[in-house]
Symmetry: C2
């Protein structure tokens, strides 16, 4: 490779600010990492919630940006992080963060994020960074194996494979676009130019399904039921397969085109698991009654949180029937030690997905397909993409599948312990069957008691729980108010469970004394 | 804050793998940063492109993931990075990367990514990390000021403000959803339940506009023109405002509802700038002819690349008329020293945006609005979001606005030099007026010469250029083949321009000798 030495003396590109010299990176990164090590170690002593003062940071920040670089910015930056930023954060990494499904990280994943930030390649096309695309293909195949997904979801199959999406919301939207593309193409093939598509999910499915329908133009607001059907669930929160089948039958009878069903493995409210196998049977039965060989629509499985547990064989039963799904997503950024964002999305019908999302005109597609490379731009909403496979790779190498299993099982053991503590206290009750690590419970008696308990806990800011309402009962009676203890933060150990329970029972003492 | 000391002895949560001890983070981060410092320093000597061997990495990776952690993973990881990954990357940070609009980073932004990865908070709601949301609000106001945007786009205005989107593609999709929401609400208010919406952009607009229409269900593939109008441009690539007005008139005459116009400040092909002021006039005139006071649709300005230059007052003319836009986006991840992903998106109509993207039912919205906090989940497609305001903050503090201006002006000077080198060589011609730092040029004569020149350069892999076709001429004559030299990589200095030009002219010697 020739390197011309024709430097002509003038070199008036951007000047090299002192703050942008690669040689400074090692000590600046070490300084940042030392700050983080202190932060992570301090979480055990910190409240998990900030003081709730809207506008507190805004009041303290200058109204205008700096005109010139700060002379020695780093000391001031760390002072401001300590003084202004950290006290205003909700600490998702706190071992007593049980409010939402967790947002895991780990030392290898953090280092991988640093590496990815420094390489800063954009793998929108295979050609714009082949190794980033190929590492993503292989790590997705590895995780398909890790979760026990059939080979029909991997790149070993002709029309299948996986990619990293930012979030499960984006995965659902991508799946919906693919479903619509396939349904319309099938309708066109039968000579129908206009079709009324219908979508199905449960009343307990994540709000991102409704949001995807809104973005895709298939719901004019969250209450619009022109296309979207929210199927009722059993009291625990799992979809009623029979009701799903009936809804599809009614739509087929009305000449509509059932195109998309999202099943949930681990609902946000209660971690309920829709039975994929029972739903597929119900969908097939409904379709056969109208002359189809099987359900022709797209089945998407949203296993964003609970799917992580499938690295352990004892939880594989949750995916029974998965071989009939068209797509599935699982988020290592929730419970598999991998930084946000990292949603893994597999499909058995790549052609439908890229058909929906590729902006290469149809008549040019064969040429680019012929190159036989994966252009991930056509699998997702955005064009650009970070090199996120790196963190999956480092997490796998540093923990192995055995380490991931240990991580999951440790938290499931924590949840078992929490559940047993709740059951041992007659003032409390468990309100939904535990699936993996989410425990739903409440104070016995009227809802107000549990509501006051949560207010007490939030005011103390020492542990973070959240609440939901159980599925409404027959006749639409409102579901009961329930507390949620979502276990899975990277640093959570059994001692935090015991500490949290002690905290909860003391708060309950106060609540019940007051209401007595 | 009480800390119960009731540790009960058993602590059977996940065990602490050696690889996940926060105390290890400083030396592991330093090691990674030292690797990156070497990498960045080496870019001057490396080819910018990898060898084009599809499957090369896939062949070398194990087919199954590791069952157990590697005993001492880090040495092996860096060996594999050197041996397997880096040689397979397209080096977006190479100073001779001129193929696509750049993907900037900087030492402060990389450190900020590390900090953000370690804090790993999810600012989907104000409450889930108040300081992350408020820092984002303020940094967006700061950048509005930096780019000379009117105050009507900032949080100082009642119904306005900015947020970070992942990419311009997502910003365009969000804007389209907001536009549709507003247009439908207006139609309902006039008693119309079904409306045929129309969308407008230029033939030279980014493909993400068409892709957004496809995702939103307003285009059934890239060629569908049921809703989407692609307006012709002048020979340089800027939209013909008059043609835009005519198209809107025709649709209004047909009873359709023009809802969304995307104007481009800096097209991908030639960095052409649509005149916002002229387009708004044309849109208003068309609307007035049909009894509207002004154009009622949404005007979105995609300034993803060129917008960065507006930190320099001499480029503010590109935003003349911006006060009439409903939204605008600019990507610091392209040309403002901030790691991918970081698209800044402002709107003057927050209510329409959150109306389109909030899954809180309409009847519950007032209660949450009353809290007077910003819940960024409702501004974007995904639910979760990383703490990306941190990198904007550190970049501003370490470079100041003066440093950002110097960065832009340095690259514009590089582009001026490159243009003058092209103009001084009679074998070449400039094919489109230069806007900031993209230079479009070609070998004089038939297209094949420039095509061969690009092949020669790609085969050498020492510099990366790309190509496009100029807008087609009157009567649809195909546009001429043109090379693109997109200057703006963080490390590019004037010496790389001279070196690149020497490279190009030597390749041209060979091409022209061969064709002579």
């Amino acid at each position: 490779m020739p390197h011309p030495s024709s430097h002509s003396g003038h070199d008036r590109g951007p000047t090299e600010p002192a703050s942008n010299t690669p040689a400074d990176l090692p000590h600046l990164a070490q300084q940042a990492a030392a700050f983080l090590a202190d932060y992570l170690t301090s979480l055990e002593r910190r409240p998990v919630l900030p003081e709730p003062h809207p506008g507190r940071l805004l009041e303290r920040l200058p109204s205008l940006p700096p005109e010139v670089p700060e002379a020695d910015p780093w000391a001031a930056i760390y002072e401001d992080l300590d003084r202004l930023i950290v006290p205003g954060l909700t600490h998702w990494q706190s071992p007593r963060f049980f409010g939402y499904f967790p947002c895991n990280h780990s030392v290898p994943a953090i280092v991988a994020e640093l590496l990815s930030a420094g390489l800063n390649v954009n793998a929108m096309l295979w050609a714009t960074s082949p190794a980033a695309t190929e590492l993503e293909q292989r790590t997705l195949d590895w995780f398909a194996h890790a979760f026990g997904l059939p080979e029909s979801f991997t790149f070993a199959a002709t029309n299948a494979g996986g990619c990293i999406q930012g979030t499960a919301s984006e995965a659902t939207l991508a799946a919906l676009c693919a479903a619509r593309h396939r349904a319309r193409a099938a309708a066109r093939a039968r000579g129908r130019t206009t079709v009324h598509l219908t979508l199905y999910t449960s009343e307990q499915a994540h709000s991102s399904v409704t949001k995807a329908a809104m973005i895709a133009g298939l719901a004019d607001g969250p209450e619009d039921r022109t296309h979207l059907r929210l199927i009722p669930t059993d009291p625990a929160g799992a979809i009623l397969a029979e009701a799903l089948g009936q809804s599809v039958r009614a739509d087929l009878a009305g000449g509509l085109v059932p195109a998309f069903a999202t099943l949930t493995v681990g609902t946000t409210g209660t971690e309920a698991v829709d039975s994929i196998a029972a739903c597929v049977r119900a969908l097939d039965d409904a379709a056969r009654a109208f002359g189809h060989e099987r359900f022709p629509g797209w089945v998407h499985v949203d296993a964003a949180f609970t799917g992580a547990a499938l690295v352990c064989p004892e939880f594989r039963r949750f995916f029974s029937g998965i071989e009939r799904a068209d797509s599935v997503c699982i988020n290592p950024h929730k419970w598999l030690l991998t930084n946000f964002d990292c949603d893994l999305f597999w499909t058995r019908d790549r052609a439908a997905l890229t058909g929906a999302l590729s902006i290469t005109p149809e008549y040019l597609r064969t040429a680019s397909d012929a190159a036989d490379v994966v252009n991930y731009r056509d699998w997702q909403v955005p064009l650009g993409r970070r090199f996120r496979a790196l963190k999956l790779w480092l997490v796998l190498r540093c923990f192995g599948l055995s380490g991931l299993r240990e991580h999951i099982r440790g938290h499931v053991a924590c949840a078992e312990r929490f559940e047993s503590l709740v059951r041992a206290d007659p003032r409390f009750e468990i309100t939904a069957p535990r699936t993996t690590s989410l425990v739903c419970f409440r104070l016995c008696g009227e809802d107000g008691r549990s509501e006051r308990l949560l207010s007490e806990l939030n005011a103390e800011r020492h542990v973070l729980l959240s609440h939901t309402r159980l599925p409404s009962g027959p006749g639409g009676t409102p579901g009961r108010y329930t507390l949620r203890c979502a276990i899975g933060a990277t640093l959570t150990r059994q001692r935090h469970i015991d500490e949290t329970w002690a905290h909860i029972t003391r708060a309950a003492d106060r609540v019940l004394r007051h209401s007595a």
